[in-house]
Symmetry: C2
Subunit: 453 residues, 2 copies
């Protein structure tokens, strides 16, 4: 029997998250206060986040302990499995060795609860009763709803309208876990009302939904805000996945030549690759390639400038140094809702600036084609987001077929697509389309970048 599956047992859930800030060759550029242009202070952030998360955001400790209560919930689906994709390799007739670490067995079906559970926990610890947040495809909103249910914290989710309409199942999941889900733009906030006045049929965007969630939080004393990606503490929590992956690759007696993952805000992929990038920073594995895969509809690293920008549409967040398409940019309505974001995690951008990671952009149709190939070989029906990295993994494996090289490719597989079947239906019935990179709209949005320094 070919060994397809590599697992850790329930006692091997990592006890600490890995903080790459301890090992960066140069520190991250500071996050700036939009009013003063000075670095933000913990006090600036206190209305939004629990103090423990604010500390994690700027910590340079290498290892940060995972609270026992969080590990206790992690047990419901962690450690997750590393698979060797023998069937896919055979179908591609490639000498490449393809592995994937699969996060689809969590209750919401994605990697998002790795941080959702932690964030709900720290808020509960600090006496917070309610959390507002935004969601794109609904993965994050449903994950935080699950996290809220675990610790008895009330959750309100602003969901990007296009996904709210395309993916009603995610909204219902939030409600099953007891949360409230509001389509964004909504009438509940000034940011939402302003947008609806300008553009009544606005499909929404992650940036706009963030504005609404932040405004909701700022207008109430009992409420904090939570972000499902981008920020350092979110990437930190996701490293539980990469730490498991590293142990499991050892069990499989392998080390990746190439790691691929899709990036919207960047947390899933960073969670997987950060424990490996460490080996590249310290020179142990200089040849390791880490490929970030973006959608052609929102290619922030591949097309955007590295600049200070807001995380949201309305300009309520601090200023973050990142690759950006402009905070007012609203990406075309691709089905990979989790990738429709104008910016990118500062840690990934910084690593890209340092030449430690690379990026590539893919069109929607080709990613679904790859998703079908994966489903018919490996069995798993992937969410539209990881179909992006599967596409790139297949391309790299086919290059190996040409060159005869037997490279080891590791895919960060963020979750299943059981709630995204309408997208597959559109693809299979020929109704799905690609969108040209919206160059003009990006230009317009970039003209509105905030002036800094």
């Amino acid at each position: 029997m070919e060994r397809t599956k590599f697992t850790l047992d329930e006692t091997e859930i990592p006890t600490h998250w890995y903080n790459v800030q301890a090992d960066l060759p140069k520190p991250l550029p500071p996050v700036l206060h939009p009013g003063t242009g000075n670095p933000v202070t913990p006090d600036d952030l206190a209305p939004l986040f629990p103090m423990e998360l604010i500390k994690q955001e700027v910590s340079t400790e290498r290892w940060i302990e995972i609270p026992e209560e969080v590990r206790d919930v992690y047990q419901l689906w962690r450690p997750t499995t590393l698979f060797r994709a023998h069937r896919l390799e055979k179908a591609l007739d490639t000498p490449a060795k393809i592995f994937y670490k699969y996060e689809g067995t969590s209750p919401p079906g994605s990697h998002k609860p790795n941080t959702a559970v932690a964030q709900a926990y720290y808020n509960k610890q600090e006496g917070i009763k309610r959390i507002s947040t935004e969601t794109g495809a609904g993965q994050w909103g449903s994950a935080l709803s699950f996290g809220g249910a675990c610790f008895g914290v009330e959750i309100t989710v602003y969901m990007v309208r296009i996904s709210y309409d395309q993916k009603p199942y995610r909204r219902i999941m939030m409600e099953v876990w007891g949360a409230k889900c509001v389509p964004s733009p909504s009438e509940d906030t000034k940011a939402g009302r302003d947008m609806l006045a300008k553009w009544p049929d606005c499909p929404g965007s992650l940036g706009l939904a963030i504005s609404e969630a932040v405004e909701d939080c700022m207008s109430r004393d009992d409420t904090h805000y939570a972000l499902g990606s981008v920020l350092n503490h979110v990437l930190l929590h996701q490293t539980v996945n990469g730490l498991e992956a590293k142990k499991l690759m050892e069990k499989a007696d392998a080390y990746p030549d190439i790691i691929v993952g899709c990036i919207g805000g960047g947390s899933n992929f960073a969670g997987l690759f950060l424990p490996f990038v460490k080996d590249k920073i310290d020179g142990t594995r200089p040849d390791l390639r880490i490929i970030n895969v973006e959608p052609m509809s929102a290619p922030s690293i591949t097309k955007g400038p590295y600049a200070y920008d807001f995380g949201d549409v309305a300009g309520l967040t601090p200023l973050i140094k990142m690759y950006t398409l402009g905070h007012s940019f609203i990406p075309p309505p691709i089905h990979a809702g989790g990738l429709r974001y104008h910016g990118m995690a500062p840690i990934i951008c910084h690593l890209h600036q340092l030449g430690l990671v690379e990026a590539r952009a893919e069109h929607q149709l080709a990613t679904f084609e790859a998703g079908i190939t994966f489903a018919r070989t490996e069995g798993i029906i992937s969410a539209p987001e990881p179909c992006h990295n599967i596409k790139v993994a297949i391309d790299e494996a086919l290059k190996c077929r040409e060159s005869g090289e037997s490279k080891t490719i590791l895919i960060a597989h963020s979750g299943h697509g059981h709630v995204d079947m309408a997208a597959y239906d559109a693809y299979l019935s020929g109704k799905l389309q690609d969108y040209e990179y919206p160059e003009d709209k990006v230009k317009e949005a970039l003209a509105e970048l905030p002036k800094v320094g």
Copy 2:
């Protein structure tokens, strides 16, 4: 940290299925040929099934080896996890210990591929190119589509119309795996056309879809038929789950006082309990209670006579001795489509006759209420089918709260409800209804039982 999770490693997938026919105190009544009234022979069944499955159907060998190719695919999700439901226990304030064995991490999200993969394999081995089958909620159809993709066998699925309409996602999953899905009743078969002539809006039933799939198979030389439940070989394949559960309960240092599972055709629950019922048959565990949970809309064991009947509506299958509501009975359209069947697995019926298992029927609304409680404590959003056993497990745990007893309850959890969110939406928005037990319709259907002997 409380121990919540019990796992086996990938090398511990059972190597053999357990065949309860080796241990039955009395043999099963024979399956009869509807024309002659004599026991069916292997030759009678050869047009439908591969010879290996026909042998398994009547075998009295205790252990039947799982082919390596099947175990190879099992690795994609097996062994599955046993969870201790600490959070649910706490919410119920019960001294009961509640465990659940969870089958929702398979590619289609249910227990069904345990047999689908095996059936696709044996058909492939015997040179069969195409398999026709039926599906209720779509769990079986999608599982067989996955199995077909694994071994390169073409699959056509007749899907009960009400589920085809309520659950389009399952149909799309089948198509993603390369299968063809037809709503039943259809114009493609005589059985379908006859029904449509009588009742153009017929919501369909599992019994009718079986008629269509059998007719499809009989009309083509390259095609076999596959059944996702009821038959002995299907229950046999599902015992891989119960064998794992037994090892895992040992790991948890526990043995169940009560095992609960929902039954439509009965294969998921039997797969879990058969390795335990052995202990009851041989007297090791005389007090073990095994509770089969039916929907009030199709309560075959609790309301039906134990009699010879057809497995399908049109009367194409052999005659099976089972509890039945009459093969022409079409159950009300509850969301637990997998439980809408007029009959029951002969093995479960026989064990019920022998006093080794019991049965109970539940209404739809109460099962969704239990499902919500489970989701908000244990995280997992359950398919409507296992909500039935969760309801009974909660009832039994609450009895323990009254009596102060600390019983151990094991739930057979057949899968997640990510594709059933419309049902939860209906429940949460107050649009879901209960259906009275349709006594008159059952009477009518029972009047049409075939005369035997």
